[in-house]
């Protein structure tokens, strides 16, 4: 396909028509269409520094600190040395730059990988009659758009004009089937699929949004504080400052008011630590760390596909702990998209109980992957019981599967729905091997003997009929009609003589349905030659009728499909992924609402709903909101959407079927818009991309063929059941950690900052700092950075087992309980209290005292040292109180930081540092002279006690009086291991559940089909099953072998509807 790979560059003006010539690079280049190369990197070596810096300073926080820095350069204002801002700023900028650089390198690698692996992101056109090669073929077609079901264009080749429609193009991500090569022409660089992927928006977490509000509030608060202090300065300067000018003359032109103005800015500089620059960086580091845990988690690693979980976005972790709604795809997400023939009932006898696995060695054509556990059925086949033979003969004849046999005995079935594939494979293994078909015949190897049946008619499946039949003539010349379909439908058409068998089979069917299996009833009928001849005549007339063709055909089918003889029933398991029902139950216990959005039919979706335990027997009021009028779901239109949402939210379980990818996204947007809840979308295919992008969190199921969902997701893993761990464990922890981090971080910085505020009342509002400048510089970066990081990387309030045992522990996250505006306000109040203690206790203890040798200790430097030491101890102990999981690392960080504080302090206050730079280290000797004083330590002890004990008492009281779910869970004994899931017993009957819209009937009988012998591979394309389901017609829309116009069929049966299920209780009925 890379033969005609073309490069396009961007085109500025709106494109109306696209013109291309095959093998004419210059011509094509002249249009400057988008190229195939995927470029995701932002920088190169030279542009990195300026670009990155520019970008970083666009972040409001960084710009704010730059302005602060500029303010500090004004001597009249500068209340702090320049380094107090420069050191943190440089550190923050370089950490962020390093992260950006690595991100960019990673994306360069991914892009180069993609660029080498994908020859093109393409829409090659397929020629109806291949006039190969076409050296000067010219294509005119529509410009790239997002319509997947439509394409118009023309191909001019050698003076001949061919029309190009949707059946002639391949979309990105298709695989070739039934052929090894083909000719094509790349049309678009920006593919239809990419255009359909929805907008990629930058996702932010709700904590982020809350933070933005809080930071704005804090800025406002800062301005208020500074204004108050400036007013204080104004008053002070007027009443006392003017008296003090003898000792401290004012500079020229500075009066009390101007001094107040300068003081305002000076205090802005000093109090800026309420919004510490390290906050954002720390948050990113924490999220990154918690993302790594997801990558590293062995419990989310799928050994079978060798796929570990992957956090593709490192900025959304805490949101995982707040999910309220989950939107799940069905096929490939809840189910494995594997159907297995599990049980059957033949002539009133049920087969398929679990015994030992059947050995297929007697059948050389058997598919070894197929397993069956009941030997008695094999015995029955070998005993040539006629009913059993007819049963399997029906399965091998009545279907629209196509066989591909590349080598003798290596059969490959191309089934439109996996159900059919499973049935045909079952027949194959039991010795009725469907081998090949032509439009007029079906070749079957029956118990080793090849037999060729004449295929006289296919009475195809559709949604209303819920059955399909074939009419064949056996090699012996016997005419027979074989029918399979939904049991209720078949039962209506049975011969009266079957009534006894019906009863027994019904019992079996109920049993199967109770196990969540998809059932089909099988029946056959011998046909009278004369009657059939006549019927065939009428059929021919009807099928060429111009008016009401469908109805006429339906009537004819109805007529012949009656008085059938019941053969038995099959039970197919739509294999759920492991642990899906348990996961769903756990998640719903955690108050998470799960909505299934699927493109499948109602019956299929319902069926899965039951087997996932989402729907249960007691939910007997299933009601359906259908909107069968247009392509777009009626319920999602303006006025209806609120009603839809209200009704849906009353329901315990919501299953939306036959939704298009865009509608999936619409549903997600709807919930996002009106419920203010955090949503998560999980899916595996390209049809889920829009929903994944629309939800707050998108999860992709990885390890399967399609990658689209994973590429646009935020998290990916191999199995649905890992969702439980992602949310209940990782999400919960991440949220908890982030919240603990934020509350503690604000606490420690507010406390730190407010002390300045109290000191202002003693130093004439002159913007004197309480602490040493070095302490201000290093407080956030060195002394308190690691302990809080350690807490937010390691903390666990309860371990993962508890999280699973008590899914309710997840609820506080949904309710935003751990960090909200209230929590923030409380934390600010706590800081005010702490700062009062931290300032006034040292003040009262020191202002009038001296050292034990009579020398000075009430000096500014000693006081600064005392206060900052008290502060460091207090915030350390507070951290210890907040931390509920002390690992060795945490111990190291906490004690290490305390040690670091003293080491750095002694170093900064040493003779050597002072002599090296007297102006920068004026605190020489303070540590040595203060910290050997008992009263200093007694003060530190007292402040620590006063700061911490009330908090302990408060928390203890809360636990006693109003214990949270958390306290309760911890107090409760660990309940017994998770009980084994009891299979529901149900009387519900599954329907004939094919996942496709309409059968291949037309195709199979088409005369243009299969010109070559069966062994030779036929040529044609199929879209890769999993990546094609984005058309409203379901997964079959893209199937277009050899240009048969399949899509022209009217869509009346398949209009979109949204179905919902509810219990009587929730609706109050």
């Amino acid at each position: 396909m890379s033969l005609f790979q073309l490069d396009f560059a961007k085109k500025k003006e709106r494109e109306l028509e696209r013109k291309l010539k095959a093998n004419d690079r210059e011509y094509n280049l002249s249009f400057k269409y988008a190229t195939n190369a995927i470029k995701t990197s932002k920088y190169n070596v030279f542009t990195f520094l300026p670009l990155n810096l520019f970008e970083q300073f666009q972040r409001i926080a960084n710009a704010y600190f730059l302005i602060l820095l500029l303010l500090q350069l004004i001597p009249a204002i500068s209340s702090l040395s320049w380094f107090t801002t420069v050191v943190p700023l440089v550190l923050v900028l370089s950490v962020t730059a390093a992260k950006d650089a690595t991100d960019d390198i990673v994306s360069i690698n991914i892009a180069s990988n993609k660029n080498t692996c994908i020859p093109s992101s393409f829409c090659p056109s397929l020629l109806p009659v291949p006039p190969l090669p076409f050296p000067e073929g010219e294509v005119r077609c529509e410009p790239p758009n997002n319509r997947l079901d439509r394409f118009t264009g023309t191909l001019n080749n050698a003076g001949q004009k061919y029309s190009l429609d949707n059946n002639r193009i391949l979309l990105r991500g298709c695989t070739l089937r039934n052929t090894d090569w083909c000719f094509g022409l790349v049309l678009f660089g920006e593919t239809k699929l990419m255009k359909n992927c929805g907008k990629t928006t930058f996702k932010r977490t709700s904590v982020d949004r809350l933070m933005n509000v809080l930071v704005l509030c804090i800025f406002g608060f800062l301005a208020v504080m500074c204004t108050i202090l400036a007013i204080g300065n104004r008053i002070w300067e007027q009443r006392w400052g003017s008296d003090f000018t003898a000792f401290l003359p004012r500079e020229d032109g500075v009066n009390a008011s101007f001094s107040a103005f300068l003081t305002f800015w000076s205090y802005i500089i000093i109090l800026n630590t309420v919004v510490p620059i390290s906050l954002y960086v720390s948050m990113e580091v924490i999220r990154l760390g918690n993302s790594f845990y997801i990558d590293w988690d062995r419990n989310m690693y799928h050994a079978h596909s060798d796929t570990p979980a992957e956090a593709r976005t490192t900025t959304l972790n805490e949101e995982l702990g707040q999910i309220k709604y989950i939107f799940s795809d069905k096929t490939g997400t809840l189910t494995q998209n594997i159907m297995t023939f599990n049980k059957c009932s033949i002539n009133g006898k049920s087969y398929g109980e679990k015994h030992k696995t059947v050995d297929w060695s007697f059948n050389p054509l058997a598919d070894q992957r197929f397993s069956f556990h009941d030997h008695s059925l094999v015995e029955a086949v070998k005993l040539e019981s006629p009913e059993v033979h007819t049963f399997f003969r029906l399965l091998s004849l009545c279907h629209t599967v196509m066989a591909e046999e590349k080598r003798e005995g290596e059969l490959l079935y191309q089934a439109q729905s996996p159900d059919e594939g499973a049935l045909v494979t079952a027949a194959r293994n039991f010795g009725f091997v469907f081998r090949s078909r032509t439009p007029e015949s079906v070749t079957v190897v029956e118990m080793g003997k090849q037999r060729c049946y004449d295929l006289l008619a296919i009475l195809d499946f559709n949604n209303v009929r819920k059955r399909m039949s074939v009419i064949v003539r056996s090699p012996e010349g016997k005419l027979c009609l074989y029918c399979k379909g939904a049991d209720t439908i078949i039962y209506e058409r049975l011969h009266q003589s079957c009534s006894k068998l019906m009863d027994i089979t019904t019992e079996h069917l109920n049993e199967y349905a109770g196990e969540g299996l998809r059932t089909l009833a099988l029946a056959c009928k011998d046909l009278d030659e004369k009657y059939f001849k006549e019927w065939q005549q009428r059929h021919h007339v009807a099928s060429t009728a111009l008016e009401d063709r469908e109805q006429k055909l339906d009537l004819l089918y109805e007529e012949i499909e009656k008085d059938l003889m019941l053969l038995g029933a099959t039970a197919i398991e739509d294999k759920l992924q492991d642990g899906v029902p348990q996961t769903i139950e756990q998640l719903s216990q955690a108050d998470i609402k799960i909505w299934v959005l699927t493109g499948d039919k109602q019956e299929t979706a319902e069926n899965i709903g039951y087997s996932c335990n989402m729907l249960r027997e007691e939910m007997n009021d299933i009601f359906i909101v259908s909107a069968n009028n247009t392509d777009d779901a009626y319920a999602l239109d303006g006025s209806m959407e609120l009603l839809f949402l209200r009704v849906a939210c009353l329901c315990k379980t919501v299953i939306c079927c036959r939704v298009t990818p865009l509608q999936k996204a619409q549903v997600v947007e709807l919930v996002k818009k009106y419920k203010q809840a955090v949503t998560l979308a999980i899916g595996d295919g390209a049809n889920d991309v829009s929903m994944i992008k629309a939800a707050h969190i998108g999860v992709g199921i990885s390890g399967q063929e399609g990658m689209q969902a994973v590429l646009s997701s935020d998290y990916s893993f191999a199995q649905f059941r890992y969702l439980e761990r992602l949310l209940l464990v990782h999400g919960r922890w991440s949220y908890l950690r982030m919240c603990k981090f934020l509350s503690y971080f604000f606490y420690k910085n507010f406390t730190f900052t407010f002390v300045h505020l109290w000191y202002a009342f003693f130093c004439g509002f002159s913007a004197q700092t309480v602490y040493d400048e070095w302490f201000i510089t290093l407080y956030n970066l060195v002394y308190t950075a690691l302990p809080v990081l350690g807490m937010s990387l390691f903390d666990q309030d309860v371990n993962d087992m508890w999280s699973f045992q008590h899914p309710k522990l997840y609820v506080p996250g949904q309710l935003n309980q751990y960090f909200s505006k209230t929590a923030f306000f409380k934390c600010a109040l706590h800081s005010v209290y702490s700062s009062v203690v931290l300032f006034f206790i040292p003040y009262a203890a020191m202002y009038d005292t001296v050292r034990s040798d009579g020398k000075d200790i009430a000096d500014y430097q000693s006081f600064a040292l005392l206060t900052q030491t008290c502060l460091v101890f207090t915030v350390c102990i507070q951290l210890g109180l907040d931390m509920s999981y002390w690992t060795a690392v945490n111990q190291l960080f906490v004690w290490g930081s305390l040690t670091m504080y003293f080491a750095v302090t002694f170093a900064m206050y040493s003779n050597g540092m002072y002599l090296a730079a007297p102006a920068s280290f004026p605190f020489i000797g303070t540590a040595r002279n203060s910290l050997n004083q008992p009263n200093v330590w007694l003060t530190i002890l007292l402040t620590s006690i006063l700061c911490v004990l009330p908090v302990v008492a408060y928390r203890f009281l809360l636990i006693q009086l109003r214990p949270t779910i958390n306290n309760k869970a911890k107090a409760a004994p660990l309940p017994p291991k998770r009980r084994a899931k009891i299979r529901r017993s149900s009387t519900r009957r599954s329907g004939y559940a094919f996942s496709h819209a309409q059968g291949y009937g037309d195709l199979v009988t088409s005369t243009r089909f299969l010109r070559r012998p069966a062994i030779v591979p036929s040529s044609g394309f199929t879209l890769l099953g999993r990546t094609t389901g984005f058309s409203p017609m379901g997964r079959s829309a893209g199937y277009s072998p050899t240009g048969h116009a399949q899509n022209n069929r009217p869509r009346d049966v398949e209009a979109t509807s949204l179905q919902m299920y509810s219990t009587a209780q929730t609706l109050g009925l």
């Binding site: 003693f762 009262a844 203890a845 200790i857 500014y860 002072y914 008492a953």
Partner: protein, 359 residues
């Protein structure tokens, strides 16, 4: 040529090649200590803390009560005349003496420290504190003649001569001086001997403050300071602060050093001298009796509506006579005790049987 659409980024060497490591760190299973606030830990801790605080408070209170302190405010009163004189700036150069008398009833046993105190003097204003040059006072020659601009507006005099020591702090040095006299029962008035050295921090005296290097033995301190001028408010130059003792002269004059260690709060006291206990009758400390202080009243306080005082004090192991800490410990201890009782009651009523814990 079956095209692979999505190439896997890496080729896997083994079936479990991408399995994450099973380390305790990566699986978040690091062994850890998880403390919880239970009645068994919290209540004993509270009672323990209450006992500790109360005991500490009692002990400190006893210690503090064993110290003595006497404060004399001399701003006005018998020094009214000087106070009025200092209001007039033109008379700044005139000397003014006054004497304040007081009586000590109980003898001050042990080391006695003589402090001067200032009230409402803001040594902690940012602009004031910044107005100094530590480089200059460390004896850096470059800074001596070329003081840091931070010293503004006390960098140079009208003639452009650099000021040593520069800056507002040094300029406003406290320049009252005191002589303490003792009049015992039936004994004559004797001067109380005070050590005027050893009143500054060791590090300040020996590291932070240094005189500029004397080039050779013959050079005097005055010669070193040539080319600089004394601060505006000073009566004598820095090299003349204590001409008798070269180790207490210039930048290393201890009164200067003590002053340069700026106080944190507007009301403060600074050490002036320590009682010399080598001579009788002061071997045991200050005996009871009448005392008088002769004051050379130079420092003007009326500008800033301040006050001046003299404090005589003995000292305990945890410093001067500040009763805040003992009382604070006693109050804190009592509060904790009350809190502990409250917590116990609450726990007894609600928490003990765990009825609140049921889900």
């Amino acid at each position: 040529m079956a095209p692979t659409i999505m190439g896997k980024p890496e080729v896997n060497p083994g079936p479990l090649a991408r399995r994450p490591d099973n380390s305790a760190f990566k699986q978040q299973r690091l062994p850890a200590w998880s403390p919880m606030l239970t009645a068994n830990t919290v209540l004993p801790f509270f009672y323990g803390m209450a006992v500790v605080c109360i005991l500490l408070g009692v002990w400190l209170l006893i210690t503090v009560n064993n110290t003595h302190q006497h404060k004399v405010d001399y701003t006005q009163g018998s020094c009214d005349e000087c106070f009025e004189m200092r209001k007039d700036r033109t008379k700044a150069d005139q000397r003014c003496n006054c004497t304040v008398g007081f009586r000590i009833h109980d003898a001050f046993k042990g080391d006695v420290f003589f402090y001067y105190g200032l009230i409402n003097f803001h040594q902690n204003l940012r602009q004031y504190m910044d107005s100094r040059d530590d480089g200059q006072m460390t004896g850096r020659k470059a800074h001596l003649k070329n003081p840091s601009p931070y010293c503004k507006p006390f960098v140079a005099d009208q003639n452009g001569l650099p000021i040593a020591p520069c800056g507002a702090v040094a300029n406003s040095i406290f320049n009252d001086s005191f002589t303490l006299f003792y009049t015992g029962e039936g004994s004559p008035k004797v001067q109380v001997p005070l050590f005027r050295k050893g009143i500054a921090w060791y590090t300040d005296k020996n590291v932070k403050f240094r005189n500029p290097q004397v080039d050779n033995k013959t050079q005097t301190l005055a010669q070193v300071f040539e080319g600089t001028t004394r601060p505006l408010f000073w009566q004598k130059p820095v090299y003349d602060l204590d001409p008798r003792d070269p180790n207490n002269n210039g930048f290393i004059n201890e009164d200067l050093i003590v002053w340069m260690r700026e106080a944190a709060f507007p009301n403060f006291k600074k050490l002036y001298g320590v009682l010399d206990r080598t001579r009788k009758p002061f071997k045991e400390g200050l005996p009871s009796g009448n005392y008088s202080i002769q004051i050379f009243y130079n420092f003007p306080v009326q500008y800033f509506r301040g006050g001046k005082e003299v404090i005589l004090s003995t000292i305990s192991w945890f410093g001067g006579q500040n009763r805040f800490l003992p009382i604070a410990y006693l109050v804190t201890g009592s509060l904790i005790l009350l809190l502990a009782i409250l917590l116990t009651a609450v726990w007894w009523k609600f928490g003990k049987n765990g009825q609140n814990m049921e889900e």
